[in-house]
Structure formats: structure tokens, C-alpha cells
């Protein structure tokens, strides 16, 4: 019915879409298609495979080696949404500049960021990391112990962040959190930020670093921090982990308080 000429006229459109969104197509391929395929073939989950790889290829006790092995697996073999080497450098710099005593991480996933933070903590500082999913939590625990961090330095908490944060003070006897790193579900950023404010765990000068605020994006979170006036914020523009073509950003907030 439709003549071939009209169909041919759509070719420039298809080419444009293919070329312009090649990174997104590649991301879709690696993050979704390859993962499903490997799930079917091996029968194990992606995090399990990642742990297997790291376990066999990294030097135990050496945090740098574990991070490098993770990066290698994520670039060459499959895709996992860790914070990645480039954005990780921003995280390192912030931790190094501030030297916090108490760090809270929401969304451990595989423990990449936990290892990254923990290796820069000074003596006596402690990292609390919250993970919702039990499987991921177990794997993250194994990786953190593999890196050589014990219970004193890194404490892994299993549970939903909206349950953990209100009970944080009583459970752990912590009054003030210096640094918060958010890397869990983007929809929960705003809710957890407000919970932290209410519970009084963050004080003047606390820094909150939220990852992936541009892609996949947390629009309500950004709108809130711009309009609430409680924070001084800065957006670090970078690219999505392991994909230099997709723009992304991290939001660094400094809590100013109501004064």
C-alpha cells in the first residue's frame, strides 16, 4: 500500500536516530540485553558473576586492585552501575578534603563505592552503608571483607533506607553525620534527604553527594534543593560511568541550616 519511495524517505531519519543515540543504544544493549542473556546462560545473578570475577582476579586486602578489577569487568565484560573511575575521583577529592568522621552511604549495591570511601577514611572514622536487597548486601559484605576492612571501619546495614534513617540515632549512637553518599533509587533521594533533615542527623557543614542526578535523573530532588534555600549546591558535570558519550552529573550539597 505504502510505496517503497516513501519508505526510502525515512532512511535519513533512521540513520539520524541511530547515530545520535548510539550511546544510549549501546547502554541498552549492555545493561539489559547482555545481562538477560548471561542470566539465562549462567543462571546466576549479575552481582554474583561480578563477585566471582573480582574474587578470582583481584589481590585480597588491596583496595586499589579490587577497584581496578571492578572497572575492568564493567568496561570489558558486562555493565554494572558503580560510580566509576571518573566520578569516583570527585568522591575521593571530597572525602580527602573533608576527612569526615562519620560517613553514611545509601545504596551499597556491590560495595564499590564503600571500598572507595573506606580506603580514604582516617583512623577512627566509620562508614555506615545501607543496602535494601539481601543478596546484594551479602555480596557487598564479602567484597568489603575481601578488601580488608573490618567491622570497625565499615558497617553494612540491611534494610530500607526509610526504615533505617529514623532509627539511626538510637541504633548506632551517632549524633551527627559528616558525609552522606546517595546512590540508591533516584526516586528515593528526595524522601531520604527530608528524613535526614527531620532526624537532625545532618548539621551545618555536612556534605551530601547524590549520584546520577542527570541520567537517569532526579528532577524532584533537584527542584527541592534549588528552592528550599537550606543548601548550597554544586553540580559536577561528568559522564555516565563507563560511557563517555552520555552526560551525567553529581550534586554536591552543603547543608547550611535554617540560619
Amino acid at each position: 500500500m505504502v510505496s517503497p519511495a516513501i519508505a526510502l524517505a525515512f532512511i535519513p531519519f533512521l540513520l539520524t536516530v541511530l547515530i545520535k543515540y548510539r550511546y544510549y543504544i549501546l547502554l541498552f544493549y549492555r545493561a539489559v540485553l547482555v545481562r538477560r542473556l548471561q542470566d539465562l546462560i549462567t543462571g546466576r545473578s549479575r552481582e554474583d558473576r561480578a563477585f566471582q570475577y573480582v574474587f578470582t582476579h583481584a589481590l585480597p586486602g588491596n583496595a586499589e586492585s579490587i577497584l581496578d578489577t571492578f572497572d575492568h569487568w564493567c568496561t570489558k565484560i558486562e555493565y554494572l552501575s558503580n560510580i566509576g573511575p571518573k566520578k569516583g575521583k570527585v568522591l575521593d577529592r571530597l572525602i580527602g578534603d573533608m576527612a569526615p568522621k562519620t560517613v553514611l552511604e545509601l545504596g551499597t549495591h556491590c560495595g564499590y563505592a564503600a571500598v572507595r570511601i573506606a580506603r580514604l577514611l582516617e583512623l577512627g572514622a566509620r562508614l555506615y552503608t545501607v543496602e535494601m536487597d539481601e543478596e546484594n548486601g551479602r555480596i557487598a559484605e564479602k567484597i568489603i571483607r575481601l578488601a580488608g576492612f573490618d567491622d570497625d571501619t565499615v558497617e553494612l546495614i540491611n534494610g530500607h533506607s526509610e526504615d533505617v534513617i529514623p532509627q539511626f540515632r538510637e541504633r548506632f549512637g551517632v549524633d551527627h553525620i559528616d558525609f552522606v553518599f546517595m546512590d540508591h533509587w533516584k526516586r528515593c533521594y528526595l524522601r531520604d534527604l527530608q528524613l535526614l533533615e527531620e532526624s537532625g542527623l545532618i548539621g551545618k557543614g555536612s556534605i551530601i553527594l547524590a549520584d546520577n542526578v542527570i541520567f537517569p535523573g532526579a528532577p524532584h530532588f533537584l527542584r527541592y534543593i534549588k528552592s528550599s534555600g537550606l543548601y548550597q549546591y554544586r553540580i559536577h558535570r561528568a559522564t555516565l560511568e563507563y560511557f563517555p558519550g552520555i552526560r551525567d552529573g553529581m550534586a554536591e550539597l552543603t547543608y547550611m541550616g535554617t540560619t
Partner: protein
């Protein structure tokens, strides 16, 4: 009375005396107005008239400003969100509307109305009647939408007009008027475009862009027409980004770049673009030939898709190829302004190539029709002979036979066919634009706004996000649309009318779409510099559009059976005929002397010398201008050195914060 008032004031005597003296002088001066002395009535009257005149002038100025169509709308767009570059598109659109109104006035008033009022009515002649074979479908909407049926046999197209030399009680010379209106529209358009270009050239100050980069950026980036806090934030962010980009550019200029790789990539990009252009040209040619094949076999056998194939393909290609060029240009790694120029040039080449392929294919059809004419003429003589054989066998007198005009066999009318093609192309172009706005802007905005709550990634920041208003694409579309009107107006007098309607609707639709569905650009650049560029393109298109029309007028004989020039061997013979018959003999003689090559050649030589002279004086003025600018630049060297040093020091330390200096400067600007 004033003396009494003065006495009662608690002042010193000296002051009272001074005031009294002043008052007396005042009274003497304005004696007439205050009612004392002669001529007071006349003086009072004069003053009152003067005041009334000033008031009237002021009101008239206000009225004139209020009368400028859509002024408020454009100001709203400019100040609310978008700045001067988007508003400049709408100003351009309004200017085009003005030109089209004049063209419409000419064609409507001098061609369509006389024929409708004073010419023979519908059905009185074969060329004015729908043929018997088509009359069953002549009123269908589908036929009318394709401009066939009753629409074809009406004042809208060339074929309806009668070649009678003078019609009605006014003895209106219709063929002459048709010809002169055709020439006049082109001449008027040339005049208006060149006048606008000249006045734009006067206003163009222009800065030397390569030196004092940071000074210009620092002091001239702010757009004072912005009235909305969100836009101001946007502008602030974009200026910051532009500074960062300049720093990165300076950084990159210091870096050694691989020239060979860049050159190779650029050549490759151009090659790809050429392939795309060639592909699109071939596709259009192929489609037009196919439609000729369909026409030969009779259009009734084919569905809507086949009949409108050509228009659809041209519109689709015009929509999709520019985005492909944009993507290919990412290979080239040019400075954004140069990249924009290349992009505009390529889109221009695409539209031009498509249009000319279309015209060449049309020429083939015209030739086919001309061949058909000879055959039809032969058939007509046979048909007439049959008619006479059937009724009378008189050889000496041939009384006119009463034949219904719908039954007379028709000669092919290539001019109406050309007019119809252009009208259909314009309509389909319009439809494509409107549908693109509705789907690409409106539906997209609805999708982003309402589905954003339940989608996994942020639709507003990432893909697809709200659309930006594509200024250059829209301006080029407008220019090419106008080119089509200029090409087709001679064969379809209804085209300027259709275009007026289209521009009117476009203005409202696009204004609404811009305010409702678009977001301001991320990088805002000045529109004034590109203004003359678009005017130059318009002039070029005007020249190129008149070429085919002039070629067909001069070299192809008009159809024998339709139009105001039927029966003549060439269309311009109407001028000679008028000179012979309507003007006194001496006028014809003068004209023949004036058109003697011996007179025309020296005249052309004089014009060329005049152009050379004007060119050299303008060059001298430009040189003087540059000297003055240099002197000015020497004065502002010192502040710029300070700024450049500050920014250059940031090159080696790119992570340092630009914000303190920026915030200070822009707080001042805000």
C-alpha cells in the same frame, strides 16, 4: 489682585519687588494670551490649535504603533522567555506577510477580480467548463483538495482566463494585465528585498570578533530584553558555559592537533553529505517519473498515497535530512558559528536541489503535454468535421453549432498543470509543518510533562525533553516556501492568497507553540548578525525562482486552448501587440529606437561603470571605518589585558572556581 496677594506674603520687601517685576514682565510677554491687547483672539486660537495638533500627533503615533500587527505578541515572546533571536524569526515572518499581502493585492485586484466580474462566466466557453468526463467527480472533496474539478476551472488557475483582448465596459486589457502583474510581482519583490538589505547593512555595527574575545564576552553578553527570572537564570548559566567554552577553546588552540586527521574527517563528512544530497535528488526524480507514469495510466486507478507521493517524499526529505547533516557535522569539529554556516549552506543545497529536480521533472511533463497538443489539434479538426457532417451538408456557410461546452474535446493545458503542482506542493509543505509542530512540539511536551512522574529516567533533562525552537530551520523553510510562491504565482494566481492565509495561520500557531511547548535555547546567540545572511539567501532564492518562470515564458509556446495568451506564439507577444494597437504610432517608434542594441549597450556600460564607482567609494569608507575602529581598540587595550590575563591564568588551572568574579559582575548586570 496679584499685587494684593503679593502684599500678604511674609517675604522681605526686596523679594516682593522682584517678584512683582517678574510678574509684570510675564504679563507683558503673554499679553495676547491673557486677554489684553489686540489680536488676542487670534493668538489664543493659535495656541489652542497648536496644543490640539500636538495631542493629535501623539495619538496618531500611538495608533500607528497599535496598528502594527502582532507587535504585542512578539514583544511578549521576546521578553517572556526567549530573547531577541526567536523574536527575530517572528519579525521576519511578519515582514514576509507584508510582502505577500502586496502580492495578493496585485494578483487579486488586477487579475482575479476583473476576470470574475467582467469576463465570461463559468460554463460559457470550453476552457471555463468542467469536461463531461470529469463532471461526476468535480464536486468531491478529494478532487477539490487536489485542486481538480471546480477548483481547476475557476479564476484560481491560469487555464480559466480568456484571451479576449479587452473585456467589459472598462475595456480592461486582461492579457496585458496578467503579464504585467506577473512581471510586477517579481520586480516589487526584488525592490523590497534589496531595500531591506541596504537598510540592514546601514545598521550593522559589527565588532571584530577575533580580538578582545573576553572583553566582548564580558561586557556585551547580557540580553537586556529578558524579563523573566527563569530566563535570567538560564542566560546566566549559558554565559558561564560560554566563558568555560572559550577557555577550553584557548586551551585547545595551544594543544597540538592532528591536522591530517581533522582534514580527513572533514572531507569524509562532506562526502557523506554529498551522498545524502545525491540520494535525495535521485529519489525525487524517481518519484516524479513514477507519478508521470501514473498520470498516463489515469489517476483514478491509484489511491491517495500514489497521487501524493511526490509531495510527501519532498516534505519528508526536507524534514529528515537536515537532522542527518547536523549529526554528520559532529565529525567535523568546527567552531559552532562556522558549523552553523555549513549547516545552513547544506540545508540550502538540499532544498535547492530538491526544488530544481522537481522543476526538471516538471519540464519533462510540459514537453509531453506539448507533444500531446499537436495530436489533440488534429483530433479536434476531425471531431468538428464529424459534427458538421452530421447536421448540415452546406459547404458555403457554416452556422455555429450549438454544442455544450462540456463536450468539446480539450487541449492539454501545461500551465494549469504547473500551477496545480506548485499549489499542491505548498499545501503539503504547510500540512507537514503544522503536523510537525503538533507532534514534535506539542505531543512531545505533553508526554514529557505527564509521563515524567512514572518514567525511569528524567524526561525533562535527558531524552526527549522539551523542544527548542529551531530558528534556522524555520527561517529556511519560510524562505523556500516564498521561493515556491514566486515560482508558481504566474501560473496560479491563487498562490499569493493561499500563502497569505498560511502565514496568518502560521503566526498564531507558532506563537502559541513557542510559548506553550518550547524552552529557551541553551546557547543563545545574537540574531542581528545573521539577518543580512538570511536576506542574502532570500535574494538568491528570488533570483533562482524567477529563472524557471522566465524561461518558460520566453521559450515555450503557450497552450492553444487555455489561458490569456492562447493563440499567440509566445507569451511576451502581448506587449508588442499592446504597443501596436493601444499606443500612438510615435510611441512605438520611440520604443523601437530605445530597444535598439546600439543604445542599450552603452547604457549597460554606463551602469557597470556606476557600479564600479559605488563599489570603490564604499571600499574607501570601509577602510576609514577600520582605521577608526583600530584607534578605538587602542584605547580599550588595557582593561582587556587585565581580563585576558585573568582568564588565561585559569587555563592552567581549570578546576578553580570562576564563580566569585562572575557572580560579582553579573550581579551588577542583573
Amino acid at each position: 489682585k496679584s499685587i494684593t496677594t503679593l502684599r500678604n506674603q511674609p517675604w522681605r520687601m526686596k523679594k516682593k519687588l522682584e517678584t512683582l517685576k517678574e510678574a509684570q514682565e510675564f504679563i507683558e510677554k503673554f499679553e495676547g494670551a491673557l486677554g489684553k491687547g489686540k489680536g488676542r483672539k487670534f493668538y489664543a486660537y493659535k495656541v489652542m490649535m497648536l496644543k490640539k495638533w500636538m495631542k493629535f500627533k501623539r495619538d496618531f503615533e500611538n495608533f500607528k504603533t497599535a496598528c502594527i500587527p502582532w507587535e504585542m505578541k512578539i514583544k511578549e515572546i521576546e521578553s517572556k522567555s526567549f530573547g531577541s533571536s526567536v523574536a527575530s524569526y517572528f519579525i521576519f515572518l511578519r515582514w514576509m506577510y507584508g510582502i505577500n499581502m502586496v502580492l495578493f493585492g496585485l494578483t487579486f485586484g488586477l487579475v482575479m477580480v476583473p476576470e470574475a466580474l467582467m469576463g465570461k462566466p463559468y460554463g460559457s466557453m470550453p476552457r471555463k467548463t468542467v469536461p463531461r468526463s470529469e463532471s461526476s467527480t468535480a464536486m468531491d472533496f478529494a478532487t477539490l483538495w487536489d485542486f481538480g474539478g471546480y477548483a481547476q476551472y475557476s479564476v484560481l488557475f491560469y487555464g480559466y482566463y480568456n484571451n479576449q483582448r479587452a473585456i467589459g465596459w472598462l475595456k480592461f486589457r486582461l492579457p496585458l494585465s496578467y503579464f504585467l502583474v506577473g512581471v510586477g510581482t517579481i520586480a516589487y519583490s526584488f525592490m523590497v528585498v534589496i531595500r531591506t538589505m541596504a537598510s540592514n547593512a546601514n545598521q550593522e555595527g559589527g565588532g571584530d570578533d577575533t580580538s578582545f574575545n573576553f572583553s566582548w564576552k564580558m561586557f556585551t553578553s547580557w540580553d537586556y530584553l529578558i524579563g523573566n527570572p527563569e530566563t535570567a537564570d538560564n542566560k546566566f548559566a549559558s554565559i558561564t558555559t560560554s566563558f568555560k567554552e572559550s577557555i577550553v577553546e584557548e586551551q585547545e588552540n595551544r594543544k597540538e592537533e592532528n591536522i591530517h586527521l581533522t582534514r580527513f574527517l572533514r572531507v569524509l563528512a562532506n562526502f557523506l553529505v554529498l551522498c545524502c544530497l545525491a540520494g535525495s535528488g535521485y529519489l525525487i526524480y524517481f518519484v516524479v517519473r513514477r507519478s508521470q507514469k501514473f498520470a498516463l495510466e489515469g489517476l483514478e486507478n491509484y489511491g491517495w498515497w500514489e497521487r501524493n507521493e511526490v509531495n510527501m517524499v519532498m516534505s519528508l526529505l526536507g524534514m529528515f535530512c537536515p537532522t542527518l547533516f547536523d549529526v554528520i557535522s559532529a565529525l567535523e569539529n568546527y567552531h559552532p558559528r562556522i558549523a552553523l554556516r555549513w549547516q545552513l549552506g547544506r540545508i540550502f543545497a538540499l532544498f535547492l536541489g530538491n526544488l530544481y529536480t522537481f522543476i526538471i521533472a516538471l519540464m519533462d511533463e510540459i514537453n509531453l503535454k506539448l507533444e500531446e497538443e499537436a495530436v489533440v489539434k488534429y483530433n479536434m479538426t476531425i471531431w468538428e468535421a464529424n459534427l458538421y457532417n452530421g447536421t448540415l451538408s452546406e459547404n458555403s456557410t457554416r452556422p455555429p453549432i450549438e454544442v455544450d461546452p462540456a463536450d468539446v474535446p480539450r487541449g492539454p493545458c501545461w500551465e494549469t498543470m504547473v500551477g496545480q503542482e506548485f499549489v499542491r506542493l505548498t499545501i503539503s509543505d504547510t500540512m507537514t509543518t503544522y503536523i510537525t509542530i503538533l507532534i514534535g512540539d506539542f505531543l512531545r511536551a505533553l508526554f514529557v510533562r505527564f509521563i515524567n512522574y512514572c518514567w525511569c529516567w528524567d524526561l525533562e533533562y535527558g531524552f526527549p525533553s522539551y523542544a527548542e525552537f529551531d530558528i534556522s530551520g524555520n527561517v529556511l523553510g519560510l524562505i523556500f516556501n516564498q521561493g515556491m510562491i514566486w515560482m508558481g504565482a504566474f501560473y496560479a494566481p491563487c498562490l499569493p492568497a493561499i500563502n497569505v492565509l498560511r502565514l496568518h495561520a502560521s503566526m498564531y500557531l507558532q506563537c502559541w507553540a513557542v510559548m506553550c511547548c518550547n524552552v529557551p535555547h541553551e546557547r543563545v546567540f545574537k540574531a542581528s548578525r545573521s539577518n543580512n545572511f538570511y536576506m542574502a539567501m532570500l535574494l538568491f532564492i528570488l533570483f533562482l525562482s524567477t529563472l524557471p518562470a522566465v524561461y518558460t515564458i520566453v521559450s515555450i509556446p503557450p497552450s492553444f486552448d487555455c489561458g490569456p495568451f492562447s493563440g499567440k506564439s509566445r507569451m511576451y507577444n502581448v506587449i508588442q501587440e499592446t504597443l501596436e494597437n493601444d499606443f500612438p504610432a510615435w510611441f512605438g517608434k520611440v520604443f523601437s529606437y530605445a530597444s535598439n542594441p546600439g543604445l542599450i549597450l552603452p547604457f549597460i556600460l554606463l551602469m557597470v561603470l556606476g557600479i564600479y564607482y559605488l563599489q570603490s567609494t564604499s571600499k574607501a569608507y570601509k577602510a576609514a571605518n577600520i582605521e577608526l575602529k583600530k584607534k578605538l581598540q587602542n584605547i580599550i587595550k588595557v582593561p582587556d589585558l587585565i581580563l585576558t590575563f585573568h582568564f588565561r591564568s585559569n587555563i592552567d588551572n581549570p578546576n578553580s572556581n570562576l564563580s566569585p568574579l562572575m557572580t560579582n559582575v553579573f550581579c551588577l548586570c542583573k
